[in-house]
Symmetry: C2
Subunit: 243 residues, 2 copies
DNA sequence: GCAAAAGTGTTGACAGTACACCCATGC
DNA sequence: GCATGGGTGTACTGTCAACACTTTTGC
């Protein structure tokens, strides 16, 4: 459901006190092994008609904010069971010119390879933008993305979320690239490799079959079960993925 | 403003779509150098009349959620300029029996020594409870406090929030006790001392004057300016207070 | 003198950093 | 054969955990 103020049935809801409207917005990060992207939609209606904005929509009365974000994401991207996490409520009084609207903001991670852009309904088109090359954005969405980036950095250090952005099997340099993009630094290839494997949370998946102009790299997969076991036994560090 | 459904003026507000009500709730942590407490109020009205609950109230249309939490806290506790941070939105459809109410939840830290309990207005009384000895709670407030504790542990490792809970000058054992209470572990006295001072963020404040049955301990204060400088210069670790 | 709580220093183990060298592949 | 990207190893360094002895004070 995009921002949409049509009202077919002309119902009216009344309250003794003023209530704000509540919407969820999603900062959807996508990775293709090379670059980190954010999903944006072009607004088909005013305000900010023609501007780019975060996918999002209004909360229904029979769903939680998580369900709302999930639903919106599914409608926009056709992906389900995706990592999704609320990170902030934006509530500036004048953040929307129409009426008082709170945004409960989520960040979401998707594998770009598993994702097909839907031809926009509501005359809105959806497109990926490189994280460091975003267009100007509607509402306070620039600020929302900024905070999402910070939050993502933080979560990256203590939850195994990077693997949500990679295919089941991946090579170390893809994982490293992702860490470098998110944390905006560079790491020593050999030390990164060593420290990752030291967690003993990776399974060997044989050599990469794709022909490339170098020695065939080792493929790995992340062992979710072993991770959960370590968490359960508390044999894991507080920030196991802090690089 | 407590939960209060009186409406003197009998105004009515209408919307084309259903809007949820939005409230803020505060998990207020207080420390006295010995024990960690949470502030609760006794509800004077139904639902859950007579039960203990978190201080909180409804969002006004001319304030952000942060301002709302700040205002509520000031009305309840008479303290201002307190550390306050939103940490989660609770939005289960049936979390309040009256109507659909979202709770934007905050955690707050106060020095108990600077705090005076107000005789409750709205026939509600406010009281401190030891964190590990809470009464049964209204709504989903038990769950809210649980998450607040987790979030507090997390924030403790990367922000200098412990000092919000201590007097300006303090002794190391008070700081250590606080870390132990929040993180639910124990630390070696000497290593804790050493590691804290290694941050070079503490100023010497002379010996403790209070007579006690031991050698007079050293008093310290936290140097906020030096901390901010280190953050600015990025000469600080990602988790400088991780113990 | 003794209990309580505080101050200080040493040591070994392990983790993190900075490097260098070799290997397979495509052109 | 050379550029590209990948694999492995070593040595140094610094941080962290474990631990013992001394100091002051009140009773």
């Amino acid at each position: 459901m995009r921002y949409n103020y049509d009202n077919m049935e002309n119902k009216i809801y009344t309250y003794k006190y003023q209530h704000p409207a509540v919407a969820t917005d999603c900062v959807v990060f996508g990775y293709d092994g090379k670059n980190l992207h954010v999903l944006l939609i072009e607004r088909g209606i005013d305000p900010f008609k023609g501007s780019w904005a975060l996918p999002g929509g209004f909360l229904k009365m029979d769903e939680t904010v998580e369900e709302c974000a999930q639903r919106e994401l599914q409608e926009e991207t056709n992906v389900k069971n995706i990592y999704l996490e609320q990170f902030h409520v934006f509530s500036a009084v004048d953040r929307d010119p129409r009426e008082r609207i709170l945004s409960v903001s989520f960040l979401a991670l998707v594998r770009k390879s598993e994702f097909k852009l839907i031809a926009g309904d509501d005359a809105a088109k959806a497109e990926w933008f490189e994280i460091n090359n975003l267009p100007s954005l509607a509402f306070d969405h620039k600020e929302i993305i900024e905070l999402a980036k910070n939050k993502l950095q933080q979560i990256l250090s203590y939850k195994p979320i990077a693997f949500q952005l990679l295919d089941k099997t991946f090579i170390m340099s893809e994982l490293q690239r992702l860490y470098e993009l998110i944390n905006e630094t560079e790491y020593d290839r050999r030390n990164f490799h060593k420290k990752m494997l030291a967690t003993s949370l990776f399974d060997d998946e044989g050599l990469c079959k794709t022909p490339m102009q170098c020695r065939a790299p080792q493929m790995y997969s992340f062992n979710e079960e072993r991770y959960k076991e370590q968490v359960k036994n508390k044999t894991i560090k507080k920030y196991p993925f802090d690089f």
